[in-house]
C-alpha cells in the first residue's frame, strides 16, 4: 500500500478527501456517543433530569435482577441465532456455489435473498401469522396428521429465534457465497492431486479459507441481532425481555434517558468484547 501511495504528505490535499467523512463521523457518531456517555451519569428524578454524575444507573443494572437477566437473554438468543444461521447458511451457500450450474447461479442467489426486500417490520409480522395457532404451519401439520393439537410456536423465544434466523440465513448465504466463489479453483485441485478426499479437502482447505468470511458474517449477525428491537417485540410475546426492549421501555414510557444510556453503553461494552473476540478474522485490508 505504502509503496504505491504518492508522496504528497507535504501538501494538505489528501485531507480534503478524508475530512468530510471524518467530520461526519465525529459530529454524528463520536460526539453523540460522548453525550450519551455523559447522560448515563445523570439521573432521572421524578420528571427532571439531574446532573448527579454518579454511577447509580450502572449500579441499578447489577442490583436489579431483571436488567441483568435481559442482558443474559440477549446474549443467549444472539448466540443461538448466530450459530444456527451459520449452520443453515453454509451448506446452502455451498450448494449455490458448487452444485448450481454457472448460468443459473446468479438467479439462484438473487432468489435466495429476495425476501430481504419485504419490509423488515412486515417480515416479523408475517412470521407471527405463519406461526400462529391456526397459522399456516399448524394448519399444515394438523392436516397431515403430524400433530393433534396446534403447536404453540408464536409468542415465544423460539419465534424470536426463527424470525432472526430467517433474516440472517439470507445475509450469511450472501457473504459465505461471495467467499466461496472467490476461492481459486486450483487450490482444491492441488489438494485432490495430493490425495485428499472430499471431506479432507473441505476440512483442511475450503473451511480455513472461508473462515474469515464466515467470521465477518457472524460478527455482523451478532451486532445486528443483539441490538434489534422489532423482532423480539413482535414475535417474543414479552415472555422475556431482551436488552433493546428494556432500553426502549426506558425511552418510550418515561423518557428516562440516563438509565437508557447506561444500558446502551453496557450493551456496547458486550458488543466490543465480542468484536475483540472476532477481531483476528475481521480485517478490511486483504493481508
Amino acid at each position: 500500500m505504502t509503496a504505491r501511495a504518492r508522496q504528497t504528505s507535504h501538501d494538505l490535499k489528501p485531507w480534503g478527501f478524508v475530512a468530510p467523512a471524518l467530520l461526519w463521523t465525529l459530529c454524528f457518531f463520536v460526539a453523540p456517543f460522548l453525550v450519551m456517555a455523559a447522560m448515563s451519569l445523570w439521573e432521572r428524578v421524578g420528571t427532571d433530569l439531574v446532573a448527579s454524575w454518579s454511577f447509580v444507573n450502572y449500579a441499578k443494572f447489577f442490583e436489579r435482577g431483571h436488567y441483568l437477566e435481559a442482558m443474559l437473554n440477549s446474549l443467549e438468543v444472539t448466540v443461538i441465532v448466530t450459530v444456527t444461521s451459520i449452520l443453515l447458511a453454509y451448506p446452502f451457500a455451498w450448494i449455490l456455489a458448487e452444485k448450481v450450474p454457472a448460468r443459473w447461479q446468479r438467479l439462484a442467489l438473487v432468489l435466495a435473498i429476495l425476501p430481504f426486500w419485504t419490509s423488515y417490520v412486515v417480515r416479523s409480522y408475517s412470521w407471527l401469522l405463519v406461526l400462529a395457532n391456526n397459522g399456516v404451519i399448524n394448519q399444515v401439520l394438523l392436516a397431515m396428521g403430524i400433530v393433534d393439537d396446534p403447536l404453540s410456536l408464536a409468542n415465544s423465544r423460539s419465534a424470536t429465534v426463527i424470525g432472526f434466523v430467517h433474516f440472517f440465513v439470507m445475509l450469511l448465504t450472501l457473504t459465505i457465497y461471495a467467499n466461496l466463489v472467490q476461492l481459486p479453483p486450483n487450490y482444491r485441485k492441488a489438494a485432490q492431486d495430493l490425495g485428499a478426499n472430499g471431506l479432507q479437502t473441505f476440512w483442511h482447505v475450503i473451511l480455513p479459507l472461508t473462515l474469515p468470511g464466515i467470521m465477518v458474517g457472524a460478527f455482523l449477525t451478532f451486532v445486528l441481532c443483539i441490538g434489534d428491537y422489532i423482532t423480539p417485540q413482535i414475535l417474543g410475546g414479552n415472555q422475556e425481555l431482551l436488552m433493546p426492549q428494556v432500553i426502549m421501555l426506558q425511552i418510550g414510557r418515561r423518557a428516562d434517558f440516563p438509565t437508557a444510556s447506561a444500558l446502551a453503553i453496557l450493551l456496547m461494552v458486550v458488543v466490543t468484547i465480542a468484536y475483540l473476540g472476532f477481531a483476528r478474522w475481521i480485517r478490511l485490508e486483504r493481508a
Partner: protein, 263 residues
C-alpha cells in the same frame, strides 16, 4: 455430464428446504393480503383487492412511502460520496494514522443501530434540534457511510492506481483523475454501495422511529399500522413494498447486467 448421485439429490432437497423456509413468510404475507375478511390468517375466505385500495387511499402511508424514498436516495448519495472520497484519500495518499482513520470511519459498523439512534436523539434533544426526516437521514448516513467506504476501499487496487498514475503523467488534474478515471473504474463498487445503502435506509426502523415526528418513513408508519391491530392492510402494504422492490431489483439487474456485458 450430470450424474444424479445421492449427494446431489440431498443437495437439491436441502436447497429446496431452505428456499421454502426463506419464502414461507413472503408467500403467506402476499396470499393473505388478498383476504376477503378482517383476519389475515387461514381459512382463506376469498379474493379481494380491498386492502390494496385501503393502502392506496391512505394518505399517511403514501406520504411515508415518498419520505422513505427521498431519505433513502439522498442519504445513500451522501454516504457514497463521503465514502468514496475517504477511500480515495486513504488509498492514494500518504496520511498519518491511516489505521486510526480507517478504524474511526468503520467504527459505526460495530455499533447497534439502536445505540446510534439513541446517541443522536439525546444529542439533538440537548441541542434543541427538533425531530425530523433530516435527522433520520443524518443517522442513515452514519450507518451507511462506513459500509460504502469499506466496499469502495476494498476495490481500490493497484490496477486502478497504475492507470491513475498514467493519467496524471499525461497531465490530468486530481479531480479529473478522480471523476474521469477512478470513479468509472470503480463503477460496480460505487453502484453496489449505493444500492446497499438504499436498501438499508429504506428498511431501517429504529433510527427513524427515534428521530422523526410527523413526517415519518415507511417502516415507522407500518409499525404504527401494526399497533392499531390485526389488519390485512399490513399484508397489502408489505406485499406492495416487496413487489415494487423486486421489480426495481430486476430492472437494475437487467440494466447493470447488460452494461457489464457490453463493456
Amino acid at each position: 455430464m450430470k450424474r444424479f448421485s445421492g449427494r446431489s439429490i440431498a443437495s437439491v432437497l436441502y436447497a429446496l428446504a431452505i428456499y421454502g423456509f426463506i419464502f414461507l413468510p413472503v408467500v403467506v404475507l402476499v396470499l393473505f393480503s388478498f383476504q376477503d375478511g378482517r383476519f389475515p390468517i387461514p381459512p382463506f375466505k376469498g379474493f379481494s383487492l380491498r386492502w390494496y385500495e385501503a393502502v392506496l387511499a391512505d394518505r399517511r402511508l403514501m406520504e411515508a412511502l415518498t419520505n422513505s424514498l427521498v431519505v433513502a436516495i439522498l442519504s445513500s448519495a451522501m454516504s457514497v460520496l463521503l465514502g468514496f472520497l475517504a477511500a480515495y484519500g486513504i488509498a492514494r495518499f500518504m496520511l498519518p494514522a491511516k489505521g486510526l482513520q480507517r478504524g474511526l470511519l468503520t467504527a459505526p459498523l460495530t455499533v447497534s443501530y439502536l445505540i446510534i439512534g439513541m446517541g443522536l436523539l439525546i444529542t439533538f434533544n440537548w441541542l434543541g434540534i427538533p425531530k425530523s426526516l433530516l435527522a433520520a437521514g443524518i443517522g442513515h448516513v452514519v450507518i451507511n457511510m462506513p459500509l460504502c467506504f469499506a466496499i469502495i476501499y476494498s476495490q481500490m487496487g493497484d490496477h486502478q492506481a497504475n492507470i491513475e498514475r498514467a493519467a496524471r503523467d499525461l497531465g490530468a488534474r486530481e479531480w479529473q483523475v478522480m471523476t474521469l478515471i477512478t470513479a468509472p473504474m470503480l463503477w460496480p463498487a460505487l453502484f453496489a454501495s449505493f444500492f446497499l445503502s438504499m436498501t438499508f435506509s429504506w428498511d431501517e426502523f429504529i433510527i427513524s422511529f427515534l428521530l422523526t415526528r410527523f413526517d415519518v418513513t415507511l417502516p415507522v408508519e407500518i409499525w404504527n399500522l401494526l399497533r392499531s391491530g390485526l389488519n390485512p392492510k399490513t399484508n397489502a402494504v408489505g406485499s406492495l413494498v416487496f413487489g415494487i422492490s423486486v421489480v426495481l431489483l430486476l430492472v437494475l439487474e437487467l440494466v447493470v447486467f447488460r452494461k457489464a456485458k457490453r463493456s
